[in-house]
């Protein structure tokens, strides 16, 4: 029994830390946020050159092995720097769905080499998460293809994506997760529409509409009606990585807050000497640290193939809480100045808002924990 990272994982963490500290400076983050693209294609290409888009995928589909733990240390570094890249959407979820379905090998290779982006389109009007929230109907044709009609929202990087992985309902649910089919849809296909959704995090989020979009049998990922089965492990890994990203952001907020509290003088002494301020900082430390432990444990379980669903939800439930609490405490330490755009805290606050709610919010994951307890 040992929950320490291995040396090669620590080395990768160090490499990733240096890479993102150098490439994703706060200035770069600010300018990419203001751009139409919403991410840094140069940094993403370099990540591809480093092989970081291939981690976690089997060698049989062009991956380099490794797993969630290796990715989690990269995500921690991305979280610290708010690195704007579509890695989670494309290299983890998009590629994960293609790899699991053993579909579109050419496209998968382009995704893994960073020359194509494939992003998931899951959320619908009610912005729910999980299999229950998939209700957009699709009609299966006799040829095994299907026709999509409806809309998906909160789709990340849809403007840059060549394809979407769309979850649609092809049969009424006979149990919690059945009746969902995954379709690979070209964003340029007739009937696909994109609308940008301005948002707090400055993320490239889109609504996508499907006006009788025809998908051939080759575009159906995996078996019909069994899409969630295929997608769930992919989303579990993604949720843990989102949690690792939140951990990184919280650790950076802790550094910013401790540094500020040590320098800012009021009533004749540094505010960090006041216990009320010390409590605020220690809250961030505690929640960041608990997030790191839960992330490591869930990632470790996923990587050695042990049942991990509950641990994944524990990690993301805690991370979502951390994503609320760490910025809130950091704002309390910084007070008025955190409110000002020239200061960096707000960049973390706004990203954390997206990450908190993405891939299942705290409520969703707590319910999943409760379901595991009640089983």
């Amino acid at each position: 029994m040992d929950i320490d990272l291995e040396q090669h994982q620590l080395d990768l963490a160090e490499t990733a830390h240096r890479f993102f500290a150098d490439r994703s400076t706060i200035g770069a983050v600010r300018s990419w946020e203001a751009s139409e693209l919403g991410y840094d294609p140069g940094v993403y290409a370099e990540m591809a050159d480093l092989g970081w888009l291939r981690i976690g995928h089997p060698e049989s589909v062009g991956g380099v092995g490794g797993g969630t733990l290796e990715l989690s240390v990269i995500y921690q570094a991305m979280g610290r720097t708010l690195a704007p890249v579509p890695h989670l959407e494309s290299a983890v979820i998009g590629a994960g769905a293609l790899a699991a379905a053993q579909a579109a090998p050419g496209l998968l290779e382009r995704v893994l080499s960073g020359t194509a982006i494939v992003t998931p389109a899951l959320a619908e009007d009610d912005a729910g998460y999980g299999p229950d929230a998939i209700s957009m109907p699709a009609e299966l044709g006799a040829d095994g293809g299907l026709v999509l009609a409806g809309s998906k929202i909160l789709v990340g990087y849809a403007n840059s994506a060549s394809h979407l992985v769309v979850a649609a309902r092809t049969a009424p649910p006979s149990d919690d997760a059945s009746g969902i089919t995954l379709a690979l849809v070209e964003t340029s296909a007739p009937g696909v529409g994109l609308t940008r959704l301005p948002n707090l995090a400055g993320y490239p989020l889109y609504a996508t509409t499907f006006d009788s979009v025809r998908v051939g049998p080759e575009g159906v990922l995996g078996r019909a009606h069994a899409g969630w089965e295929l997608l769930e492990p992919v989303l579990d890994r993604a949720a843990v990585l989102r949690a690792a990203q939140i951990q990184g952001a919280a650790e950076r907020l802790l550094e910013l807050s401790v540094d500020y509290a040590g320098r800012r003088t009021q009533f004749g002494q540094p505010i960090g000497r006041y216990q009320a301020v010390q409590y605020l900082c220690s809250d961030i430390a505690i929640h960041a640290h608990l997030t790191s432990l839960l992330v490591r444990y869930a990632a470790g379980l996923l990587d050695c193939g042990l049942p991990a669903g509950k641990a994944v939800s524990e990690a993301k439930a805690q991370a979502s809480r951390t994503a609320r609490l760490a910025p809130e405490r950091a704002h309390a330490v910084h007070a008025g100045i955190a409110f000002i755009l020239d200061f960096d805290v707000q960049l973390f606050t706004r990203r954390c808002r997206h990450w908190e709610l993405d891939l299942g919010d705290e409520r969703y994951h707590r319910e999943r924990i409760a379901a595991a307890l009640a089983a």
């Binding site: 029994m1 040590g262 960090g272 010390q278 505690i286 640290h289 608990l290 432990l293 524990e314 307890l373």
Partner: protein, 391 residues
């Protein structure tokens, strides 16, 4: 990273379970060492001596002092099973605190003299740190030890001494040099309790048990009972409990959570089972998160011990989380159980059992907040020594 146990470790767990099945009554659910209870004592000491006879007290100690030199993970597995079953293991201060200090700072003679009787549960130790005016600020302690030939003469008052009147030795921190800086004038002694200079006065507590005031009036201690170096007692105090005795407090919470979940599957309120109530489900999930956080903090400690690495954040995060989360855990238990939770042990309608659902759930865990230092003090340690904020 290795999240699986080896076959040998799994066999060890089975061996421990087999022992507990054989030695504990079927519905045993009383473990707290922190509240004296006379009925409990007789069973607990007999039980602990059986554990001693198996060689399981001092499991990780070197063999020359009566130990088994087993790895820390074996101790953790042992602790998990004993804690989950509320096994009444006593003499925590002996095999935890005193043995740890002796192994770190005792002389060879002291180790050979004091450790084997602790291993055999022949000599029971009580804690003599806290004083009426020195609680969180332990370094302000006033109990005075003065050298007199081959002996030390100790006078002062200690308090919250659990099992004091049953113990044989007091693990006592006393001031040997009042002129030294306050952290440098403290020394640790093993004070024989059965002598005229030591007496006790009871402190009855909210949980139905008792602690003690301990009065030291010219108590005499042989010089050879001075543990560690003169004036360096603070180092031993800060060293805390011996790492090799790693505990598994989360298993007490896990056991309670399991019982509360089982209760929720049968108890109905407002026309439905509690387990189907979304508010209750959310509370159960929060309880699970509290347990899991404690579990992983312990696994982290295990990895720190295994790689001989000091803990991050001055070791304060685990302590703060444990102290704060277990009171929240008990609060959630009481919220779920509701009004039946006010019924005491022995009441016909008391739900589950007294430890999990009754008032004791909170009484017992609320002890966590102060035993070994309050969470507020540990938060100060976290902020200053852990995060580097100004003092």
């Amino acid at each position: 990273m290795e999240l699986r146990l080896t076959p040998a470790q799994n066999e060890w767990r089975e061996e421990v379970r087999g022992f507990l099945d054989a030695e504990l009554p079927a519905r045993w659910e009383k473990s707290s060492e922190w509240c004296e209870d006379e009925d409990f004592w007789e069973f607990a000491i007999a039980f602990t001596r059986k554990v001693s006879a198996k060689g399981w007290i001092g499991l990780t100690w070197p063999k020359e002092y009566g130990g088994q030199a087993r790895p820390t993970i074996d101790q953790l597995i042992f602790s998990e099973e004993f804690t989950y079953r509320d096994a009444p293991l006593i003499n925590t201060i002996g095999w935890g605190l005193a043995a740890g200090a002796l192994l770190r700072g005792g002389t060879e003679d002291q180790k050979r003299k004091f450790l084997p009787p602790i291993q055999r549960t022949e000599v029971i130790w009580a804690e003599g740190y806290t004083e009426p005016e020195a609680g969180s600020d332990l370094a302000s302690l006033n109990t005075r030890a003065v050298r007199d030939g081959d002996e030390w003469v100790i006078s002062g008052q200690k308090t919250f001494t659990t099992w004091g009147s049953h113990a044989d030795m007091l693990y006592c921190a006393a001031r040997t040099d009042p002129d030294a800086p306050r952290h440098r004038g403290i020394t640790i002694f093993g004070v024989p309790i059965r002598q005229d200079g030591v007496s006790f006065g009871p402190l009855f507590n909210i949980g139905g048990g008792r602690q003690n005031h301990t009065f030291l009036d010219q108590a005499r201690v042989p010089h050879e009972n001075m543990i560690g170096q003169e004036g360096r007692g603070w180092d031993l105090i800060m060293g805390g409990f011996y790492g090799g005795n790693i505990g598994a407090g989360y298993m007490e919470a896990q056991q309670k959570l399991d019982k509360v979940v089982a209760y929720c599957k049968t108890a109905r309120r407002n026309g439905r089972l509690l387990i189907d109530d979304p508010v209750v489900r959310d509370q159960l999930a929060e309880m699970d998160l509290l347990v899991q956080a404690e579990r992983l903090l312990t696994f982290e400690s295990l990895s720190n011990i295994q790689s001989r690495r000091p803990p991050a954040f001055a070791g304060a995060i685990g302590t703060v989380v444990s102290k704060e989360s277990m009171t929240r855990f008990a609060e959630l238990t009481n919220l779920i159980v509701g009004r039946l939770g006010q019924l005491a042990a022995g009441s016909d309608w008391a739900p589950i059992d007294v430890a999990s659902g009754g008032p004791e759930a909170w009484f017992r865990t609320s002890i966590r907040n102060h035993a070994g230092g309050t969470s507020q003090v540990k938060r100060m340690v976290l902020a200053t020594r852990g995060l580097g904020l100004p003092r």
